[in-house]
């Protein structure tokens, strides 16, 4: 199988010894069908064992290996070397503090996921003995693609609003809330609206759509946020302009 030398500039940072991050240059022989993650693994195995990054599944489902590759947020296990020419620049995901090398501090994202109550709050209670909730394929399709988010955080790295306003809940968290709001089994929308229909929530979004462009699973967070905005606006109209409607 064909091999070629691939050059990478990788951002390095160890808070115990470095005042600030710096690039390190590597040259590593790679197979033509490899992804950037394979190149990093080859560096770690045979050139520099001190290089640090997260990864696990190598099939774009665990969401561990997001990083900036030539300035774009990508899963490194899904970024094929054949698509790049020249030196490949690899940096940790933008908009998150660097923990070490390509490893970012994910605390803020994890906290935000939890805040939107991303779990089923049943509309009607049902015991296990009563069997499953009936949900038609059409009802499933209403929310299914919003349930495909792998929490890789690429959309936060791409989001210009999150860069400016770190309090913004961000694309993945709001999309997850919307996923449950759209689920026919759920009755928790009012609770979630208190979190997402706020200035730190959906109204912070300027609808640039960068989140959907970088999403590796075609979840379309921008579409979800737009739907939330429309629905929240309708709520407002109902509450303020239609006094006869008890909501």
């Amino acid at each position: 199988m064909n091999e070629r030398m691939v050059q990478l500039d990788v951002l390095r940072y160890d808070p115990q010894v470095d005042d600030e991050p710096h690039f390190q240059h590597y040259e590593v022989p790679c197979k033509e069908e490899w992804v950037v993650l394979d190149a990093l693994n080859a560096i770690k195995e045979s050139i520099d064992p001190t290089l640090n990054y997260r990864w696990s599944c190598h099939m774009a489902v665990c969401g561990s290996c997001g990083m900036m590759i030539n300035g774009e947020p990508r899963l490194s296990c899904h970024a094929f070397l054949r698509d790049f020419e020249g030196v490949i620049r690899v940096e940790p995901l933008a908009n998150f503090p660097i923990e070490r090398d390509l490893v970012t501090v994910a605390d803020d994202f994890i906290d935000k996921l939890k805040r939107v109550k991303p779990y089923l709050i049943p509309g009607e209670t049902r015991s296990i003995d009563e069997g499953e909730y009936i949900q038609t394929p059409a009802q499933l399709m209403k929310y299914r693609h919003f349930s495909m988010c792998i929490n890789c955080m690429l959309c936060y790295a791409a989001c210009p609003q999150y860069a400016l306003q770190p309090l913004f809940l961000g694309p993945a968290a709001i999309t997850l809330a919307h996923r449950y709001n759209l689920d026919s089994r759920d009755g928790g929308r009012d609770e979630r609206q208190q979190v997402i229909a706020t200035n730190e929530g959906v109204w912070e979004c300027s609808f640039v759509g960068a989140c959907s462009e970088v999403c590796p699973k075609a979840v379309d967070p921008a579409g979800a946020l737009q739907q939330v905005k429309v629905a929240s606006t309708l709520d407002w109209f109902r509450e303020h302009l239609l006094p006869g409607d008890t909501k």
Partner: protein, 585 residues
Amino acid sequence: MEIIDADVAIVGAGGAGLRAAIALAETDPKLRIALISKVYPMRSHTCAAEGGAAGVIKPDDSLDMHFDDTVSGGDWLSDQDCVEYFVKEAPRELLQLEHWGCPWNREADGSVAVRSFGGMKKQRTWFAADKSGFHILHTLFQTSLQFPSIIRFDEYYALDLLLDEGRCQGLMAMEMRSGLIRQFHARAVIIAGGGAGRMFPFTTNGAIKTGDGMALAYRAGVPLKDMEFVQYHPTGLPNTGSLLTEACRGEGGVLLNKDGRRYLQDYGMGPETELGKPQLKTMELGPRDRLSQAYWHELQNGNTVSTRWGECVLMDMRHLGEKKINERLPLVRELAISYLGVDIVTDPVPVRPVVHYMMGGISTDARAATPLPGLFAAGECACVSLNGANRLGSNSLVELLVFGKRAAWSAIEYLQDLPAADTAALTARALESQTRIRELFSRTDGTESMSGLRKEMMDTMEKNVGIYRDHAGLQEAVDTLGQLRQRYRKVVLNDRSNVFNTDLFQVLELGCMLDCAEALTAGALARRESRGAHQRLDYAKRDDDHYLRHSMVHYRGSGAPRVDYQDVVITRSPPGLRDYSGGHQ
């Protein structure tokens, strides 16, 4: 050294660990639960499971049939009391996930849909497209967020269990961000740390599956059970090892050799079934061990296809059509296009068997309790003896749920009337554990490279402990692994930073894998028969007189492990013939 007090500590936050945590929190909200994992929960390898989860729900099916399929699929090495409990609990657990929001595929009337899977006589595999494990994991993770008593310790690497007075009373773990070691004083511990497929070079398993949980228990004196049974999944992508789910064949995909022959009919799984009409429990829907063994024979007979990625057979799904493929196998299509450049809609995809799952693991009884008081285990790291000598596809996702919950309940029972811990004694043990890490950091006489030792281990496992084994090869592997464990004591740590030091964690993971590999190989050498996934060229037949027993491998420090045996629990199904001829035999 900081001490963190908990009632129950759980090591591992994949499907089994999360299910256990939720069961603890629901049953007794006052319990303090420490959920410890070396990765964020949604990175756990449960996410990579594709096909689905088995549980009887349709009117033409029965618990007895699920029991029979599981026991014969496991070549009668399953404990039948465990299987009885499992098949009874399975539908309830899958319904519970449905009530928590799991997006199961549906029939037109809105009821849950099921699909065909290998070795199962009826359609009983619940699925969420071909991302079932992903949805199960995320549903559990998201559900767990509503319980304030579940305190997560994400990115903490577990180092050692803490034992005192013959009981497990906690563990040591390192915060990966800071390198700080913490003592977890816990009244009970549940290990849910996943499998160890990374002992092998070609595996569907993610990088994190390094047998850490198994090694924790093993080194603390708990035997590893039936470790020699390693499942090869018959259809992996030949370059990355990524899994192409069994649902490919459940939906009607067929396996072809270089002549276009559906060769499974030549290995006791025929006669050939009609294309596009998959028949349960025969041909492509035979069990994984038989399919992987058939591949090995085709390879020996020169019937495989030579590709740029090595020898392969072909899986043909073209006749399913684009619509069905997109609806039911979207991930498979995407994987094959991205990593292999093959569109399954228009071309057959080359595949070969790949290490997928450990049937063996930490020995537990049907209550998920290990022989060490205070220690419980569930999921792939455990061997509760559900899967016997060969696991049926779609049983393991349910195993996570059924026995994750069972471990939690057993832990709660155990906590009643437990004497208070001797904190000083535990701290003394903790200091011993800390010394081991300090020694690694201060070592100056290191000569061995981590990646070099790891490569030798993988090469040995691939060469000698694969689909077919014999005495000479296994003896060579035992010798080599013994030497590698000695050499490991001289391994060099290249990175001395305290912050997210993956060089350190890879060194520690390698130590775990070497211990697991040695236990596996010792069990394989001692088992002089062929059963399920353990096939010996020199002992080609199943030998119920001598080996209808679980192998139990005991840790003996730097010495070779000791192997003894424990009887299989048989309630109502005496050992019989595994028949995958579609009723033609």
